[in-house]
Structures are given as C-alpha cells and as structure tokens.
C-alpha cells in the first residue's frame, strides 16, 4: 500500500444552529478554508483532485435524501467520482478512512473528504428520537429509546464493576470544556468545576447535562494525498506542506443491541482482544483477578469495537505502548463516560482503570490551570480541542473535525488556526483520532504521524 498524507483541513464554525447557511454552503465554508491553507484556489484544486468522499449520518436530520450530492454539486466537485458513507457517529471517521483507502490503493492521488450535519432542523427532543432510531427499532427504541440512557446504563455497570465515580466522569467535562476555552471553533467554551458538572440538571442517571455533548450544525473536511499528490499540491500552492502521514488505520464492530454483547472468558480476551502492552505478567495477573471477581468482556461496560479498531491501527502503525508513544488523542467523547471507557479500549490504561486515569491528570494539557488537584503530570492529552462535549457533534462532520485538529497539531500550527497557542501539544509527533458510532457498534481509529 502507498503512503497517505493528510495535508490540510477546514472546520466550519459549529453552533447549536446555523440557519445562516444551508448544509452545502457549510461544507463550502470548511472546503474554502482547507484549500486556502494549501495556497490553492478552487479551479486549480478541482483540476488536481481525483475523487471525494462524503459523510453525513441522517436523512432524517438533513430532511433531504442523497444530500451528499448537493454538497458535491455546490462546492464545485462535479463530475468527479464520489460516494457517501454512513456509520452513525463514526461516519466522519469512516469517511477519513475511505479517503485513505482510495489513496493507499492507488486509485487516487488527491482526495477530498467532507462531512456535515444539520441537527437544528428539529428540536432537541425530536433529535434525540432520530438518534435513538439508530438503535434496534424492534427491541431498543420502543422501550424508551434514548442514547443518553443507553450510555448511562453502561456507566452504571462500569461504576458497579470498578468503583468508577461520577466525580471522575466530571473531570473529563472540566478538562474538555476548559480546553475548548482556547478553541475558537468550539461550541461550548466554559470554565467549570466538578461541582458545576454534578449540579447540572440530571439527564440519565448518573449523567448530567454537562456530561453529554450537544447537538450541532457544522461541516468539516480534509485533503488526503499520495506522495505524487503532495508534489502536485506543493507545486500548485508554491509552498512546502508539513509532512503528516497516516501511518495506520483500524476499525471494529459490535452488536447493535447492547443486550447482545458477549461476556467472554479471560482466555478469549487474551486470544482476541488484548493489546501488546497487556501481555506482561503484571497485566495478566491484574486481569485474572478481575475475571475471578466476575468481570466479563466486553459486557456492556467496554467497547470491543473500539478495542479492535485500536488494536488494528496500532499494529499497522507499529505502536506497542500507546500511552508512551502517542502524544495526543482526539477521541469520541459524546459522553464523559465514553471518554473513560475509551481510555481503556485504546490501552491508555487497563480495563477498570479509566476512572482513576481520568482524575490523574495524565489526559490533561500541560500549561493550563484546570483548578483541579491532579496528582500526575500530563502524559497524553486527550481531546486537547475540547472534544465533542465542548466542540459540538454535527455527526457527519465530527470524525473529520478530529482529523483536522490532529493535522494542525502535527503541523505545529494550532496557534495559526486557533489564534492562541495554548492547545498546541508540545512537539507533537504522533496523534490518534477515534470515531465511534451507536452504543459502540462501529469504531474507527487512525494514527497520524509527523515526518520531518
């Protein structure tokens, strides 16, 4: 397979509602930014680009079937090859990876990936209904279908299994909202305390309104290319583009219904799901004890799809010590609890250690005062952008937004794009992006690395 470079991106302003523009015009906003960053105008980019991949989640939200072609049309990509991908909340991450495949396979040299969602077309409670239609409509939705409820059930089990506390969850909310304080693209830029998070209105016990991302309108796009494509873009733009290579992708799946998730044995976990950094005697003893106390994998507390996506991506990128080798992660924190669950899936800590890890400080940014007493130094900032909780979650755009922020981190260009250097991870060389659907049904993980 050929090397794939992620060279630029653009993100529209995310907001609760963007009635000022239609969704194709929002895509145009993100696209114009991405090509301007390459120093190329549209007619020239059109000449160079080989194909596009479009990403949006819901025909219900868009109130428009085949919406992708309208974006393709509006931004002036006709008659280039294109297709739309859909995989719930992971739609953007899947889009990024399909663009990667187009380049890696030799099908294309330059690909534009774009995604969008217009969730303000309906009121929040109707939006919750649309999202809940992405659970089994025979057996899940009619019982009281509500995604926050599904995630709250997962965390109730996480709390019972491992002693995870709502205050540990709240650390994630404080971190991500405060990171977003320095990100002009973010929807919610707030300085919060643990008490603020816990005192917010309860949505689905134990998750409060500040544990949960909000609905958004927005668009994002990235430009991916081969080495030949890179040369063409540099020639057209008359500038050197910092090398950010996508060194590994991975994807996993799991049952639509939470209730169908398996409860595997210790032996099967080690046979199918364990990461290289869990193969040591200490980890084996730790997990043996968990199993002896009734832990089963993945159950409803863990995302096997996220683990398998991580495992595959790490294998491709040659990562054996995620916490030591990855400089930052942009992960799918639709809920504070799912960020904690994802620390474990991605091997930043072991299963069961996500709560203490969240409160340890390891996932926080250096140089930012969170007003918290954190025992450990930052080791691998998670969601330095503010994540979904603070940036917003216009579903089809979200995974691409993560890619854009990761590209900017690795280009050491956060100050240029945010107008504020606070969120630049120092000397960032390796970043992971993680996009997640449903109750953990599709999960993509992609590794991006800076090359000098």
């Amino acid at each position: 397979m050929r090397s794939v470079y992620a060279v630029s991106g653009g993100v529209s302003k995310f907001a609760k509602a963007r009635p000022d523009k239609t969704f194709p015009a929002l895509v145009k906003e993100a696209y114009d930014y991405a090509i301007a960053d390459l120093g190329i105008e549209h007619p020239k980019f059109w000449e160079l680009v080989d194909a596009t991949v479009a990403s949006y989640f819901s025909d219900h939200f868009e109130r428009q079937l085949m919406a992708a072609i309208m974006a393709q049309d509006y931004i002036g990509m006709l008659p280039k090859p294109s297709h739309r991908v859909e995989g719930g909340g992971a739609t953007g991450g899947i889009c990024f990876q399909e663009g990667w495949k187009s380049i890696a396979s030799g099908y294309a040299d330059i690909v534009l990936c774009y995604g969008f969602e217009m969730m303000s077309h309906v009121e929040t409670w109707k939006g919750n209904e649309f999202i809940a239609l992405a659970s089994d409509v025979s057996f899940d939705y009619p019982v009281g279908g509500f995604y926050s409820g599904y995630y709250a059930m997962m965390v109730s089990r996480h709390m019972a299994e491992f002693g995870t506390t709502p205050e540990q969850l709240a650390h994630v909310s404080v971190k991500n909202h405060l990171n977003a304080y320095h990100n002009p693209y973010a929807q919610k830029r707030r300085k919060l305390t643990i008490e603020d998070v816990r005192a917010a209105p309860m949505v689905a016990w134990p998750l409060t309104r500040l544990d949960i991302c909000v609905m958004s309108d927005g668009a994002a796009c990235t430009v991916l290319c081969s080495e030949d494509g890179l040369a063409k873009l540099e020639k057209a733009g008359g500038q050197r583009i910092p090398r950010v290579r996508v060194t590994g992708i991975g994807r996993g799946t799991d049952a639509m219904r939470l209730s169908d998730r398996p409860h595997q044995s210790y032996e099967d976990f080690y046979k199918y799901n364990a990461l290289p950094n869990e193969m040591d005697a200490d980890s084996r003893a730790y997990y043996k004890e968990l199993w002896d106390h009734g832990f089963r994998y993945p159950g409803v507390h863990s995302f096997r799809a996220g683990r398998m996506g991580s495992k595959e991506a790490y294998e491709n990128a040659g990562i054996t010590d995620p916490l030591g080798e990855i400089d930052f992660v942009e992960l799918h924190d639709a809920y504070t609890s799912s960020e904690i669950q994802t620390y474990e899936d991605m091997g930043l800590c072991r299963y069961g250690e996500g709560g203490p890890f969240a409160a340890s400080g390891k996932a926080f940014m250096p140089g930012i005062d969170y007003g918290l007493d954190l025992p450990d130094e930052p080791a691998c900032p998670v969601n330095p952008s503010g994540g979904l909780i603070a940036c917003g979650h216009p579903v089809g755009a979200t995974g691409l937004m993560q890619a854009v922020f990761a590209i900017w981190q690795l280009q050491h260009a956060i100050e240029k794009h945010f107008g504020d250097p606070a969120l630049q991870v120092p000397d960032a060389r390796c970043g992971a992006i993680h996009s997640h659907a449903g109750t953990g049904t599709y999960v993509t993980v992609s590794i991006l690395e800076r090359e000098e």
């Binding site: 279908g145 709250a152 059930m153 109730s156 016990w205 998750l207 219904r257 939470l258 209730s259 998730r261």
Partner: protein, 180 residues
C-alpha cells in the same frame, strides 16, 4: 388546438400562507440581501409504517399470551434473552425456549429526559436484565423503585416480569419490578 379557454393564472389559496408584507429592498440595489436574516419555515413530516417483526414475531405473540420466550442455539445452547433468528457464532438457526421472566438487574439508568415520544413518561427507569442460564441481556422498563433514589446498589437486585393485559405488540408488553 381546441378553442377551450385554459387558465392563465394558478388559483390562489390561503393554506400555507402565514406572513404578509415581507420586507425586501424596494429599488434596484440588492446588496442588502447579503445581510438578510435567514428564513426558517416549519415543515411537518409524518408517516406510518407497516413494520414487520419478521422472524421475531413469535416473541410478541408470546408476550400477548403472557409468556416469555428466548432464542437458543440448539447445539451449543448459547441463549439470547433478546430474540435472534440465527446464532452469531455458529450461524445456525435458533429455537424458541420458554423461560420465567425472573432475573437480576445487570445495569440501569433513570431517564429524566428523553426522545420526544417518551418525554411525557419521564422520569422512567431502563434496565438490562440478566437471566439464569441465559447468555445475553434484555432491555426493559423497571417500576417499583424510587427514580430519585438511584444507586448502584440496584445492580444485582432480583426482579420479576409482569405482562400488560392489553398488548401493544412492543417489547414493553413485559416490564419488571423488584421481587423482594
């Protein structure tokens, strides 16, 4: 061409008309339109589906008869609390087996907010129920607990199922309550 008089004007009706006198530049200068606020209109959309439960239909027939059936892989015995026509490991067709709807709470939440359809029922309790000898869980409503006293102590609680007398042909035709 016939001599018949054909209409030259669309007939005007009043339905759908909600605003009169929409502001607009009166002269030739249209540059102010770029500053115009967006127009947002209400567009209702509703549909009724003829939705088939397909191979899962017997489960709903069982609930209507106050019986609870689950799906079992005949050779391995792997049993799904939520119906499934085929086993995901062997690929074989499952068989229906009746069990007592009695089990324990595996995980739960209290929804204080929800989808539009369920908002009037808030707060309501969702629980994943585990059954002895069954490998997977069943999502159900739980009653008989105080929604304002939620606690992880509820996990492991013994619960029993009860059936609605008037079946709605939904999985909520069975609901659970604390057994003690």
């Amino acid at each position: 061409m016939s001599d018949k008089e054909l209409p030259k004007k669309m007939e005007e009706t009043m339905e759908g008309t909600v605003v009169f006198g929409v502001p607009f530049p009166t002269g030739d200068d249209l540059s102010a339109l770029k500053e115009m606020a967006p127009i947002v209109v209400k567009q209702p959309y509703a549909s009724t589906y003829n939705y088939s439960y397909g191979q899962d239909s017997p489960f709903f027939a069982a609930l209507a008869n106050k019986r609870f059936i689950v799906s079992r892989e005949p050779e391995t015995g792997y049993t799904y609390a939520t119906p499934r026509g085929h086993d995901m490991y062997t690929g074989k067709e499952t068989e229906w087996v009746e069990i007592k709807p009695e089990g324990h709470i595996h995980a739960f939440t209290v929804c204080h907010f929800g989808s539009e359809e369920f908002l009037p029922q808030c707060p309501y309790v969702l629980a994943l129920i585990e059954f002895e000898g069954v490998n997977t869980l069943f999502l159900a409503r739980l009653i008989g607990v105080d929604p304002y006293e939620a606690s992880t102590d509820w996990i492991g609680m013994k619960v029993k199922g009860r059936f609605l007398r008037n079946s709605k042909f939904k999985p909520t035709d069975v609901y659970f309550y604390p057994a003690e």
